[in-house]
Amino acid sequence: MIASETLAGRLGGSLRRGGWTLALYVILAGLIAFTSVLQPRYGLDTLAIAALPLALAAAAQAVVVISGGIDLSVGSMMALTNVTAAVLMKDAGTETAVAVIVGVLLLGLAIGALNGLLVVTTRVPDIVVTLAMLYIWGGVALLVLGSPGGGAPGWVKDLVKGGFVVDALPRALVLLLVIIGSVWLPVRRSQLGLSLYAIGSDRLAAFRSGVAVERTKLASYALCGLFSAAGGLALTATTGIGTPTVGAYTLAGVAAIVLGGVSLAGGRGGILGPIGAAYVLTIIRADLVFLGVDPNYSTMIQGGIMVLVVMLAAFLTLRRVRR
């Protein structure tokens, strides 16, 4: 009795909160349909591959922002893990490659934790610490690999290519869901997940509720590093090489979480929203290419769309509150 009542309550709650995420996926479905008319060869698998690194960057950023912080070094952590993996996996056997993947994920966890440790212990604002780390990890990436190179075994590249069981289900999407499902879901359901939201929502109240605020903050950066490393590995797998230059993933990730309903003030949002937003941003960019829009205008249009969509989200939220 009580259990079902609880379940219904929870379902209602998550529906109320997840309204925007739902809307985002409807928009995504519309865009996919539109694109299939515009350019039939741009299939779901192409989209999933193109969006995978950004989706993981968004997940990384979302964890930190939900906890009330920000990490500007996501892009360079991805570059560093990308080249590290590419250098070590070049011409490597299966066992070595698996070891490298595990090692690189641990590396991400470690450098993320280092970011967090610096933020917590030095009390320098997070935006400053991680901006510094953006440059530092970027420099380290160039030390590891001076110019694009390295490689990845065929089976690693195949992890993201084609369909899983059926053609309609892209492997890159399945891989993404597996990563998110094996890391975020357990965290979200644990005391740690609750604490992440708590410190993002109200630090003082969280502290008074008995949350170990600093340890939780450190954990949020470590998780960010882990997702960034997954993003770096995704780059290695999708491109087949390592590229030591820092891509646009830091800010694109921020754009995705904002679109995905994560409050930059912390405490609000989830991970599915940002991932949906990463797909939306990726497909919009592709559509603008197919429509033959000048690349210079294309970035302006993307910026405009972002503001409009966030306004729409705010409007929907307002109406829900008023009702």
């Binding site: 708590a198 509720s209 008995g210 949350v211 170990a212």
Partner: protein
């Protein structure tokens, strides 16, 4: 002494150069309600923070049931049976109630039972804390503390934001805790509650415990004497750092020490004040006719004149919030009219209301002040903010006006660089000072003394009287019934969005106000 449940001795805490506690002690017996009293800045909050593990003391010993304890974090305090309810709501705003319970490991069923006992039936556990009204949040904080069956319940100003009906329930529950042999540390600015509820009281002054009083008839005198300190009891010159507390409730008029500047006389209680002559033909300063907004404010009419303080009494959520939003230009009415000096007005923005001299003094200082800016900027803001004044600021003129306002209100400016570092009472004075500097003729005070120490409260009453004497018209909503007699000329009672009673302050005894506020006096409607 093994019969003590909780004892703190020789507690010292300094923040940089500021000494918050210089030798505080507190001894709580099992099964007693123990009041912790003192003016703002006496060190109550710091002692609470130390007892609950929010900050660590520099010196001092805390023992629980005779055993020495180091309370290193709020979690540890809870684990050892000390459950605090802080002055501000402590639920995480973006988590729902259930997750908030999960976060602190609070059992759900006892929590639910307490919430019901405390008078909030049908609470939705899936509701986000952000969406719940303040009194509900306070009750939830209390229920969360009660749910773990604490040995010591620590209540910091629990009644400050509660309407009368909820306050009653809370007092009941506190009494029952005592009867069950548990202890309660009770912090309140309302001495009436203290004498009704507490067994003993520890009084702090300037960071030191200056006395422990057994509550008995006449104990209030002793408490006030202790809070005042030697040689200041008869309204002598006090230090600016420690506002002078004074008696509250029935009794002779408080004689608060002189604020520099005329008129020097303290405000007499309503009974002794001359009835204000109704000035012949002049239209009322502010009149509202059949004002309504949404579902809360249904039909309210009243008027008041320059020189008059009109009190408003209402339980929580009877439409007073909406009324003040309309009058201060934050929202627009769905029906009815507002007249200023006899001419109808339509406010589209608070700037419109301010331009007509209607200004708001809210209960929550954080809503009115720029917390990270200086006292000076906060006071000067309304006079420089209107767009037509977006030019260079006349610094000399501004400095003069700001300084005049600061002097008049005796604002303690040692921490003037950032308003958030001032005490609550001084912050509230800044919100009033800005309108004095601005020369606003109509003040809309919404529970302006919430959570402020008794001394500063009386300074605010006096200020209100002075401003009225100087020709200001003041609307004064209060959640403390005694303030009607202390500060107002006349009072109206709002219940269910309608005015249900109107009476002169002199005859506004608390029983009648309370009856009317509960909707029990409809036959008395004028």
């Amino acid at each position: 002494m093994t019969d003590l449940l909780l004892e703190a001795t020789g507690v010292v805490k300094t923040y940089g150069a500021v000494t918050a506690l210089r030798g505080a002690s507190l001894a709580v017996r099992p099964g007693e309600v123990h009041a912790l009293l003192g003016a703002n800045g006496a060190g109550k909050s710091t002692l609470v923070k130390i007892l609950t593990g929010v900050v660590r003391p520099d010196e001092g010993v805390i023992t629980l049931r005779g055993q020495r304890r180091e309370v290193r974090s709020p979690a540890e305090a809870r684990a050892s049976g000390i459950a605090p309810v802080y002055q501000e709501p402590s639920l995480i705003p973006d988590l729902d109630v259930r997750d908030n319970l999960r976060l602190t490991g609070t059992p759900v069923e006892p929590f639910r039972d307490w919430v019901a006992t405390l008078g909030i039936p049908g609470l939705d556990l899936a509701a986000n804390a952000r969406d719940l009204p303040l009194p509900t949040l306070r009750i939830l904080d209390l229920a969360r503390a009660l749910a773990i069956g604490p040995a010591v319940l620590l209540l910091d100003e629990i009644t400050a934001a509660l309407p009368a009906d909820l306050t009653e329930r809370v007092m009941d529950v506190i009494g029952r805790q005592r009867d069950d042999g548990r202890s309660v540390i009770f912090i309140s600015h309302r001495l009436i509650e203290v004498s009704a509820l507490c067994n003993r009281a520890t009084v702090l002054r300037d960071g030191e415990t200056v006395g422990v009083v057994e509550i008995a008839p006449g104990a209030e005198e002793e408490i006030v004497r202790l809070m005042l300190g030697p040689g200041t009891a008869n309204g002598g010159r006090t230090r600016s750092a420690a506002p002078t507390p004074a008696t509250v409730g029935p009794g002779p008029a408080p004689s608060v020490s002189a604020i520099p500047g005329p008129p020097a006389a303290a405000s007499p209680p309503a009974a002794e004040r001359p009835t204000r002559p109704v000035s012949g033909n002049a239209p009322p300063r502010l009149a509202v006719h059949n004002l309504a907004a949404g579902t809360k404010l249904r039909d309210v009419s009243f008027e008041f004149r320059a020189g008059e303080v009109l009190g408003i009494v209402a339980l929580e959520g009877q439409g007073q919030d909406e009324l003040f939003s309309l009058l201060s230009g934050e929202e627009r009415p769905s029906a009815g009219e507002i007249f200023v000096d006899g001419s109808p007005v339509r406010f589209r923005h608070p700037a419109d209301a301010i331009a007509r001299g209607l200004v708001l003094v809210p209960a929550d200082r954080a809503h009115a002040l720029l917390m990270q800016r200086s006292v000076r900027e906060n006071i000067a803001l309304p006079s420089v903010a209107p767009p037509r004044r977006w030019g260079p600021i006349a610094i000399g003129e501004e400095t003069r006006r700001v300084q005049a306002a600061i002097n008049r209100l005796r604002i303690d400016t040692r921490a003037a660089a950032e308003v958030r570092r001032l005490s609550g009472g001084n912050q509230q004075k800044v919100t009033i000072a800005r309108w004095i500097a601005f020369g606003a003729p109509t003040l809309l005070c919404f529970d302006p003394t919430r959570g402020i120490d008794i001394g500063t409260k009386h300074e605010i009453y006096r200020l209100v009287r002075e401003l009225a004497a100087a020709g200001a018209a003041i609307l004064f909503y209060t959640s403390e019934l005694e303030e009607i007699r202390l500060a107002c000329d006349r009072a109206i009672v709002i219940f269910g969005g309608r005015v249900v009673d109107e009476l002169a302050a002199a005859e506004a005894d608390e029983a009648r106000l309370l009856r009317a506020a509960h909707g029990l006096a409809r036959e008395a409607v004028a």
